[in-house]
Symmetry: C2
Subunit: 302 residues, 2 copies
């Protein structure tokens, strides 16, 4: 943090972006949160609870929080905005403050160059959706509103699991046909889980659904895809994770999604295969063989 | 044809594939069709009618035809299997012979190397779906059945229009965020048109829907994407088309889809923009600006 404050950029993760003058860098919880009109929470999912438990005393009543985390908390199977609600003493099922998510296909290095992009501002609070739209929308960043917070958060979490699989296909040099089939079957299993949790199916057709899934599977820059690629090349998981600067959200999220799917009785064969590769010693090439040799059938969705 | 017969491969389009011994190459219509148990029709969409009008006398009653064409006939706005029905003296709305489509994310050069891939066998005739599944399915090519022939053919046609736009973004170096947003918004407009024509929305989630769209937008090899890329770099359309060996289905299909959307009152802003670029002199960079600057709104689908 001291280095970012001194250099006015993050030399490790995004060296090409110089922070605008209006951005203040601080490690002081009270200074960061006092008088905030909107708080954006950008914290790895498995650290959300401890972070917001610590910040909670400084978060004023009624101030909206917008999450950009993409994952599911392993122990509780809660979505990021639900964890924030719980950690700040709110009821996750009926929070007293406006909570939302901002999500979409947004590789940071491209945003830093102001290349055109889209996102979704999701909240059950229409005023928060509109506020996020006007705070962050520019002529190169188009922001859509969506009331389906569950769908947007589920899509953002599970796409990282599918991206690990996409990277494994890259590591195995399986080609674009295979990766595109994975994207389609992965989208179907994300939508199945989302539906079981009360999300609207249309959300998965949207920029925070299939849009984010596509960028995560096809951009060479994605962390989860890159981690999967190294696994596909035969590197052990601990070695890959040990050498990466950034958090690979897909790895813990695979555990959480698999448990969530089991608890809800949702069939998620790709997630199961990724889980078996990450934690049970299955080889990626054998997983493809198993998926390809399932009994020929109708294409099923829900 | 003589060259393919002599060399047992197509040196122009797929030099890496040697034809299996069981494949006979012939230009004799009668020899090609007599005693066929299934006919696979691989003809550019705008040439389907003349080809099948010529072949019709040799096509025996009740013999199924499976189409792999991806487009819409400009003058009639009919789908490939409808054109085949009409040209062989059948009723396009209630054909007497089994008709089907075989479609999916299948870059030919990858199939030639037996890399893993998926397709959909679509027909209202269940026996034809099952026959195609067992004729073409292998342990590296997984074939799903789908009764939604309309959806599979519409998805295959319109994805080429979206791929032209994806290529233009590549030519403009707009990045992965933009192309992934295009994929999502393109899928929504394909699904809107399909729904208006009676297709099942689930089909667009499938391998012949979003799967084929993804491979067409992201594989460097796709003809339509490549054509769009050269347009995005500023080359005139006639020059691009004149220099390409293969048919770029997306160009005539853009005319057809735009007319179909107008006739059915379906909002297809990306197709309209591609039409304006191809045929009305709009510059690709200006089209992006127009799409990005539309009024901020909810993400709409149907």
């Amino acid at each position: 943090m001291a280095q970012i404050a001194a250099e006015r950029r993050d030399p490790l993760r995004l060296p090409e972006l110089n922070l605008p003058a209006a951005v203040e860098v601080t490690g002081d919880d009270a200074a960061g949160l006092t008088d905030a009109s909107v708080v954006v929470s950008a914290v790895p999912t498995q650290h959300l609870r401890e972070t917001w438990t610590r910040l909670s005393p400084w978060l004023e009543a009624g101030v909206p929080v917008v999450s950009v985390s993409k994952g599911i908390e392993i122990d509780t199977l809660l979505r990021p905005t639900q964890v924030i609600a719980a950690a700040t003493g709110d009821d996750p099922a009926a929070p007293s403050r406006p909570l939302g998510a901002l999500s979409g296909p947004t590789i940071a290095a491209e945003l830093a160059r102001h290349l055109p992009a889209t996102m979704v501002a999701a909240s059950r609070d229409d005023a928060l959706c509109a506020a996020v739209q006007s705070l962050f929308g520019t002529d190169w960043l188009r922001i859509y509103r969506n009331r389906d917070l569950v769908g947007v958060e589920i899509a953002g979490a599970v796409k990282n699991v599918i991206a690990l699989a996409a990277g494994m296909l890259d590591g195995l040099q399986a080609g674009y046909n295979a990766k595109s089939a994975l994207l389609a079957r992965g989208l179907a299993e994300i939508a199945r889980l989302g539906s079981a949790l009360g999300a609207a199916v249309e959300t998965f057709f949207g920029v925070a659904g299939v849009g984010d899934l596509a960028v995560t599977c096809f951009s060479p820059q994605g962390r989860n895809r890159r981690c999967g690629e190294r696994l596909g090349c035969g590197e052990p998981l601990q070695e890959v994770l040990g050498s990466m600067v950034a958090v690979v959200e897909g790895v813990p999220t695979t555990r959480a999604v698999r448990r969530l799917a089991e608890a809800r009785g949702v069939d998620m064969p790709i997630t199961q295969a990724v889980h078996a590769i990450l934690f049970e010693g299955l080889r990626p090439a054998d997983a493809i063989g198993q998926l390809m040799r399932r009994r020929p059938k109708s294409e099923g969705f829900f």
